[in-house]
């Protein structure tokens, strides 16, 4: 008992000791284990592989990065991946905006919390199950084909379009939620003021609502963009033969780990650049 009291007193008198005890274990885990392995990975991007034995040769060279920019396949795949991420982001924004506008400002206030839960619930449904659902929808003779048949059309099948649709579905809630929050917090008196000054609905939307909500769209886009850019499972399941950066990383791991590491830096660098660009819009403070 006395020991406990003494320890408690010692801890209370020494905030630095308390802090050290709090942080030692988590820092060992995150800084040493996680950041350590990450740095080794990025350093290994500057190594090469013996092409006969597939063994890693620890000699410093920038060949891998040189290849990234010169080999046409790599360039194509990188551009395609960025294009997919941008397309997914744009589609998410287009679908999310009216939905969020409805849940935040048009729906009756008593329904709003329920609608938010309705948006959130599928967010926590299994990632793989959601991709699987789209594999079912787009399969031959599946729901998409059945719905388009009366119009003489057929579904897109598995491929790039399927990948974009599926990724849009996966990350849509990440776009809806920030927009909903921003629209909900929009002060009503600003809208009244705009109306008093003679602006009709559309003008108010363009000059008042949109500029105030744009940072939240940017915040949502950080998720939709970076999650799409790093994904490779979805493309494997519904993408047919389509390849994105993630697939290239995956296919290089066994035979050429340094190349895989170099390819892996691409989405990281692009995401960091995207974050920096979005920071200018004030998006990150509303995350």
């Amino acid at each position: 008992m006395a020991l406990i009291t003494r320890t408690a007193g010692a801890l209370h008198r020494r905030p630095r000791l308390r802090l050290t005890l709090l942080l030692t274990a988590p820092l060992l885990w995150l800084a040493v284990l996680y950041l350590g392995s990450l740095s080794v990975l990025f350093v290994s991007a500057f190594w090469t592989t013996n092409s006969f034995t597939s063994e890693v040769v620890k000699v410093w060279s920038t060949d891998n990065f040189h290849e990234l920019f010169t080999v046409p396949v790599f360039r194509q795949v990188i551009l395609r991946s960025v294009g997919v991420a941008l397309a997914v982001t744009a589609l998410c924004a287009v679908i999310a905006f009216p939905l969020a506008f409805y849940t935040a400002r048009v729906a009756k206030p008593k329904w709003r919390p329920l609608l938010v839960v309705a948006i959130l619930t599928p967010l926590w449904a299994s990632y793989l199950v959601k991709v699987y659902a789209w594999r079912l929808i787009l399969s031959e003779g599946g729901l998409a084909d059945w719905m388009l048949k009366p119009f003489g059309l057929s579904g897109p099948g598995y491929g790039l379009t399927a990948a974009v649709l599926t990724l849009t579905y996966l990350w849509l809630p990440y776009m809806i939620l920030p927009i909903h929050t921003a629209l909900e917090q929009l002060p009503a008196n600003l809208l009244d003021a705009s109306a008093d000054l003679g602006a009709r609905g559309w003008r108010t939307f363009r000059s008042v609502v949109l500029p105030m909500v744009l940072p939240s769209v940017a915040a949502g886009s950080v998720f939709t963009f970076s999650l799409s850019l790093g994904d490779y499972i979805t493309v494997q399941i519904v993408g047919g033969k389509t390849q994105l950066i993630g697939n290239l990383v995956y296919s290089n791991i066994e035979l050429n780990l340094p190349m895989a590491a170099a390819l892996g830096t691409v989405p990281v660098v692009v995401i960091v650049l995207y974050l920096l660009a979005m920071r200018r819009t004030g998006a990150l403070s509303s995350l």
């Binding site: 009291t5 209370h12 709090l22 942080l23 274990a25 988590p26 820092l27 995150l30 800084a31 284990l33 996680y34 950041l35 392995s37 990450l38 080794v40 990975l41 679908i95 999310a96 009216p98 409805y102 849940t103 400002r105 048009v106 839960v117 948006i119 959130l120 619930t121 599928p122 967010l123 299994s126 990632y127 793989l128 199950v129 959601k130 699987y132 659902a133 079912l136 929808i137 399969s139 003779g141 599946g142 729901l143 059945w146 579905y169 849509l172 009503a188 609905g201 108010t204 939307f205 609502v209 998720f223 850019l229 790093g230 490779y232 499972i233 993630g246 791991i253 895989a260 590491a261 892996g264």
Partner: protein, 271 residues
């Protein structure tokens, strides 16, 4: 904001369309688990519970479920411990590098899973293999815990920021020592945030596939890995359908409980 009648109607239609897009795929998974055929053609030729009983007896799916539960519980336990420690350090102390810590906590989930996956994979194989420890369930738990820390941290730190330290000071003025104040005052204040964070961490781990792919040893198959491996096998399709339907039904539980528990369970608190 005064909206014209037509604008209101347009918004209603657009929102209705949005909700249809969100829910039709999930409903399709549920209906498809009752589909007697092995193909996913629409509409199904009938409805049957036959595949549910087949799936119930499927030993591969059961074993995978059990592996996922074990991995999830292990990762959640570690994430709870580490996430709470960091939350207390960040919320109750000022020190050099405090912002950097919040950043490092988010990093494992902000970077693409494949980058985290191969980084951990090569670290494990260089450090652990010489010690005679191969990839297995243990390495999956370590990998999952790394990206689960952030959800616990987010929940606990949000709670600590809302409750000032004065409660603890009051307890100490009344004669409680550090441990007593923690047990009687601080812990009850953060308990529900811990529970919500733990639940979200478990859900996150239960769902994860990319990091798992790179940290699981040869014989270790979590449920997502099992689904992924069996998805393209026509023979297994009906069982995969049922497992997918079960997962859709189960996913309602954590969000419901977490919502009830803590108002500051940041909505999309995966990040």
């Amino acid at each position: 904001m005064q909206l014209s009648r037509s604008a209101r109607i347009a918004l209603r239609v657009a929102a209705g369309f949005g909700f249809v897009v969100i829910y039709v795929p999930l409903l399709l998974v549920l209906v498809n688990s009752l589909n007697p055929d092995r193909s996913a053609s629409w509409p199904p030729s009938g409805l049957t519970l036959h595949w549910w009983s087949v799936a119930w007896d499927n030993s591969g799916a059961r074993a995978a479920l059990w592996t996922s539960v074990k991995a999830g519980l292990g990762a959640t336990a570690i994430a709870l411990a580490l996430g709470t420690l960091i939350a207390f350090a960040v919320a109750r102390h000022r020190f050099f590098g405090r912002d950097a810590i919040s950043f490092v906590v988010v990093l494992p989930i902000a970077l693409p899973g494949i980058v985290t996956g191969i980084a951990l994979n090569s670290a494990f194989s260089t450090v652990l293999e010489p010690l005679g420890v191969g990839l297995g369930l243990f390495t999956v738990v370590v990998g999952h815990a790394t990206f689960c820390i952030v959800v616990v941290f987010n929940n606990v730190v949000a709670r600590l920021r809302r409750t000032s330290g004065s409660y603890e000071e009051a307890a100490m003025d009344l004669g409680a020592n550090t441990f007593r104040a923690f047990a009687d005052v601080t812990f009850p204040l953060v308990r529900s945030a811990l529970f919500a964070g733990g639940l979200l961490a478990f859900a996150l781990s239960f769902d994860e596939i990319v990091v798992t792919t790179f940290t699981a040893g040869p014989g270790v198959e979590t449920l997502p890995i099992w689904i992924f491996n069996n998805m393209t096998r026509p023979q297994q399709a009906p069982v995969v359908n049922v497992v997918a339907a079960v997962l859709v039904l189960l996913s309602v539980i954590p969000i419901y409980v977490a919502q009830r528990l803590s108002a500051d369970t940041a909505t999309g608190s995966r990040v």
